[in-house]
Amino acid sequence: MQEFLHGTELLFTSPIGVSIFVGGLLGGLVFGAIPGLNVLTLAAVLLPFTAWFPAEHAIMLYGVIYVSGIYGGAITAILFNIPGSVENAPTAFDGYPMTKKGEASKAIGYAVTCSAIGGTLSAILMMFATEPLADFAVSTFGPIEITALIFFGLTVVAGVGSRSLAKGWLSLGLGLLIGCIGNDPVDATPRYTFGVLYLSGGVGFIPLILGLFAVSEVFIQSQRMATGTHRKPKISVNFPTVSEFWALRWAVVRSTVIGWFSGILPGVGATLAAFLSYNEAVRWSKTPERFGNGEPEGVVAPETANNAATGAAMIPLLALGLPGGALTAMMIGVFNVHDMDVGPLIMVEAPDLVWILFSSMFWASLAILLLGMVESKTIVHLLRVPFTLLAPGILVFSTIGAYALRSNIFDILSMFLAGIAGYFLRKSDYSVAAIVMGVILGKIGENSLAQALTMLDFNYLGFFQEPVSAVLVVAGLLTIVWNLTRRLRKYFGVNKRVTS
């Protein structure tokens, strides 16, 4: 506690420190919210300038940007179906349907509060448990367990966003297959590239998300306008009530735990945290069919988890020197710029630096709550802009977002093609959410599967010999059986009623 207070004192007693804190907070929110301007862009641009800052301010800036950027991406995901970054993609699954139902303000309220709760709890846990938890997570979760974890996640995905189980499976399969395009993770053998250089890097994930969500939405609304069935979203500025939050308390706790453990695992981070947490919310729900149609828990789960992962990602970074993602890798760069190495000795050699980082992430999470409460009542008024004028805006911003990452015109082309495909898939009740989850989980899963199979001497039964992976694989198999029996029971129930 003393160290935390000391870190807070260092943070707020210097006017420059406060300015950097506020600047990082606003910068992260803005860059996180606008597609094409993600926090990685901001972090990369700022990296050389950090050499001019004192080390504690430089590292604090990155902690604040990390926290606020992840929340910022939720705003556009909820309002316009444009996730600001990959971690916010599951937020759009239910956030945007809530907007269409006139509950945008509530969705933002849930997102901001749960981001703050997830981030704050994570920061507190980070302060108390950095070393022991890092040891546990890194020693327990190897490629075998990560593969089993992803298999478990994939079994749940099929139930998201489609009313037909077979179509959910097909959507998931399509996503997994799209994830195979490019060089394979073991030997960089080209797969489904047809000699096209662009495809050897794989289909860009950001263009795919923007196409399937934002662009296809513009096409769907355009068709509705042409047929006279377009309805303006209702606008309300109701913040969720305390009782509404209380009803979702277990979702918050569960998502914090999932976010935390995903954040600790090197190379996994906030993206898997958000997707797994969404899957678990569906699996634990008594009404899973409501997910994808504006279920508040579908916003709460990913937003809590992706923010909970931010604090947790600091654990392997600081304790072991292992970055969990691109932004934490840049943080290593910040340490290096100031002639420091991250690793177990950092807590001894530079405790002030570590505690200013912890306290800045804690205060940034709380500041998001304040900013977000104001924002949820003001930013929803953007929806008053007629869709006829929003549509070109969405297309132009999505285009910039798709292009800015790799400066490749084919990314824009693949985004629009994904948009056209997304239009037809959504119209035929296929789940674009399952496609997106298939791509992201499939890419991580194939990599760890290859490592796991090599470790298990290419014997799939080896997954049942390790206790953690055995539990996860069995849980996945049970999920498939449960999904099938649930549908069969409904089917026979309906037929029985017809016969009687």
Partner: protein, 173 residues
């Protein structure tokens, strides 16, 4: 959704996985460090999708009598009203593809105002004042944000247009 339509969809998926399987033999060799080879994972997915397409077909034949006004609650449940594509929507599909082509040739700076204008018109705005006013305001904001303040690299076009765009950007900055 009609049984015929679903069966056509399932057949389409089976054709798709057949094509994916055919092309997977291009990279089916065992690898030095991984004896299953690069095609192992795609083959697992193809098998999974074949089962899923089979379930989609089987569900059509397993379906019992439908209750009037109530959806059948098995694998493929809800009647989906797929309305015919309107010409305006088809134009909305084509316009962005033309814009991408235009961006590649004449650059983002020149192609974008034309795109914004036509897209707004296609979305149903017919007032010239609104069309011109919105296009110019939105375009100026874009230029200020992405060229003046954030320096985002955007397509510059080819040949003579590349130099022209460079000069315009120089003026803006």
């Amino acid at each position: 959704m009609s049984r015929r339509r679903t069966l056509i969809e399932a057949a389409g998926w089976l054709f798709f996985v057949g094509v994916a399987l055919y092309f997977s033999f291009d990279f089916n060799e065992p690898l030095p460090g991984f004896k299953f080879g690069a095609a192992h994972w795609p083959h697992v997915i193809i098998a999974f999708m074949t089962v899923a397409a089979g379930v989609l077909i089987a569900a059509q034949f397993l379906k019992g009598r439908r209750i009037e006004g109530q959806a059948d609650q098995f694998f493929d449940e809800i009647e989906e009203d797929i309305e015919k594509l309107k010409p305006r929507t088809v134009a909305m599909f084509i316009l962005p593809l033309l814009w991408v082509f235009g961006m590649h040739k004449i650059g983002f700076l020149i192609a974008t105002p034309i795109f914004i204008f036509i897209c707004t018109w296609l979305m149903g705005v017919r007032s010239w004042r609104t069309l011109l006013g919105f296009t110019s305001c939105f375009y100026v904001s874009l230029v200020l944000i992405f060229y003046k303040w954030v320096f985002t690299p955007l397509p510059m076009g080819a040949g003579w247009f590349h130099s022209l765009n460079g000069e315009i950007i120089g003026l803006v900055q």
